[in-house]
């Protein structure tokens, strides 16, 4: 069965290719730092399950040391110039979009084909990771098409992928690090502590204030953890279930669903949700690393108000 593990082998190979690209890059004075960083990540994807917990912990500290001591650099000499790109763009015209669309199309059509045909029962692909596995397949097909059609130099995909990876740099592993931090927070009992604080400042007798505290608690805790998934079980246990559902008789479906969505408003406003808020700032080469968050706050706050209104009026009819 093709499962996430196969995708990790592919991802490991791609991170290894970034390491090769960095090692080849004579114009980057910090090229060995980049090589080590991407090489360690490749090792994590290939051998992570064999390293043991302590071994993985040491690997994490090594990644942090490379980033923390500013050993990552980048150069911009590996690609074509703007003029060459304009020329290619005119020559290949709108057909250039086709290889880019192969990836989402493979994931989209493939997932539908898998779920609505007997393939689902065949055990060929792990149903839990169908879309991601097909995304990986789409990347392989797109690479083959690009080689056959555009005839780039053999190492071009390696160097171009490495160029993008270097432009993201350490930000690339922040989301995964934050997920690991969440595991530590849970093990050290941070969630339970925050839940008990939220529960103890609860005003009695006012449904509206309880709804307000529940939604705001979801937002604040999500902003701290970077993830509404970590906040939901805590806020549900502290306020959602005992107060809103049991004591006040609210509709549990509304309180569950809209409570989670209130947390998502928090996700829009926190650097801790790095893959949504920090990585794109790096990918789009924004000057302000918090630029995406700044653009999202004016959507997140009115939407939070809307969620509180929905919670109050739909759950307590």
């Amino acid at each position: 069965m093709i499962n996430l593990h196969w995708l990790y082998v592919l991802a490991g190979a791609i991170f290894a290719s970034f390491a090769i690209s960095s090692a080849r890059d004579g114009m980057n004075p910090k090229r060995w730092g980049n090589t080590a960083f991407w090489g360690l990540l490749a090792g994590s994807f290939w051998f992570g399950d064999l390293l043991g917990d302590i071994g993985n912990g040491v690997l994490v500290l090594a990644l942090v040391a490379i980033a923390g001591m500013h050993l990552l650099g980048r150069s911009s000499t590996k690609s074509t110039t703007n003029d060459e790109r304009e020329h290619f763009s005119r020559r290949f015209a709108n057909r250039l979009f086709l290889p880019a669309l192969i990836i989402p199309f493979t994931a989209f059509a493939g997932t539908l084909a898998f779920n609505y045909t007997p393939l689902k029962g065949s055990g060929l692909i792990d149903p839990k990771s169908v879309t991601l596995v097909l995304l990986g397949l789409g990347v392989i097909i797109a690479l083959i098409v690009c080689y056959a059609w555009l005839r780039p130099p053999v190492m071009a995909p390696v160097d171009e992928g490495g160029r993008l990876a270097d432009s993201i740099g350490w930000a690339l592993v922040v989301p995964q690090m934050l997920a690991a931090l969440g595991v530590i927070f849970a093990a050290a009992g941070v969630g339970a502590t925050i839940g008990s604080i939220a529960g103890s400042i609860l005003p009695h007798g006012s449904v509206f204030l309880a709804v307000l505290l529940y939604a705001l608690g979801m937002v604040v805790f999500t902003m701290i953890m970077g993830n509404a998934f970590a906040a939901f079980p805590v806020m549900a246990a502290a306020i959602g279930v005992p107060i809103l559902i049991h004591a006040d008789g609210g509709n549990p479906a509304v309180i569950g669903a809209v409570g989670m969505l209130s947390g998502f408003c928090g996700t829009l406003m926190t650097p801790m949700a790095a893959n949504f808020n920090i990585v794109p700032a790096a990918l789009l080469e924004l000057k302000n690393q918090y630029g995406v968050i700044k653009a999202q706050i004016p959507t997140a706050l009115p939407l939070l108000v809307a969620n509180i209104v929905i919670l109050y009026f739909a759950a307590f009819r």
Partner: protein, 224 residues
């Protein structure tokens, strides 16, 4: 007696991000401090950190698209995206991003949130198109405006996926809500929950859509 000391780790994270230290360093230090204050021995903290990192590798999986995107950029994909938008009459940044918002919400609601994203679609296609449309409305963009249009492109992707995905019944967050409430003896089906994601999805589309139209007005006003 509740141990309040691990909350210091939370404070360290907030402080570290506010002072703009390297986020990897901030997170690692906060993780170790929190673990130690939670009475975990150092090796246990290190092992938990390593275990959490290894178990969450799927978070970093979407970067497998980078070689393809980089290769297409080498052959002028961003330039092509700009040319395409420049040739469409009536294309504005706001309308383009509203279209993308709707696309992202609908596709995520069908359970396909991974088909688009910041690496797959925003950097190579959406942001260059939004910039090209802004140049048509506004003339040459100054640095602040350029930055704003790019940031709104990324923001639109996030709003679309966050407030579309929960309409799909088999998404992780719906299953988490179902599982958590089941732990308290409250039985719900994923369908009952996902229906209640629809009002918020509509509000998100309206609120963010209005902001995108306002962006259009600002771009147009400053250009004249």
């Amino acid at each position: 007696m509740i141990n309040y000391w691990p909350l210091l780790g939370v404070a360290l994270v907030v402080l570290g991000f506010a002072l703009r230290f390297n986020p990897l360093l901030v997170v690692a230090v906060a993780a170790i401090v929190t673990g130690l204050l939670g009475h975990m021995p150092f090796l246990k903290v290190l092992g938990t950190l390593g275990h959490g990192f290894n178990e969450n590798r799927y978070v970093s999986i979407s970067y497998v698209v980078l070689p393809v995107i980089g290769l297409l950029e080498r052959f002028g994909l961003q330039q092509r995206a700009r040319t395409l938008i420049a040739g469409i009459r009536g294309a504005t940044t706001g309308r383009l991003l509203i279209f993308y918002l709707a696309f992202r919400q609908v596709v995520s609601a069908l359970g396909l949130k991974d088909v688009a994203g910041h690496a797959q679609s925003v950097r190579p296609l959406v942001a260059p198109m939004a910039l090209a449309a802004a140049e048509k409305q506004h003339g040459k963009l100054d640095e602040d405006t350029d930055e704003r249009v790019k940031a709104m492109s990324a923001a639109t992707d996030n709003v679309g996926v966050f407030f579309g995905e929960d309409i799909f019944i088999a998404i992780a967050s719906i299953l988490l809500i179902q599982g958590t409430l089941a732990g308290f003896g409250i039985q719900l089906t994923p369908f009952q929950l996902s229906v209640w994601a629809i009002p918020t999805a509509i509000c998100a589309f309206v609120i963010h859509g209005i902001r995108l139209l306002l962006l259009d007005r600002q771009l147009g006003a400053r250009g004249k």
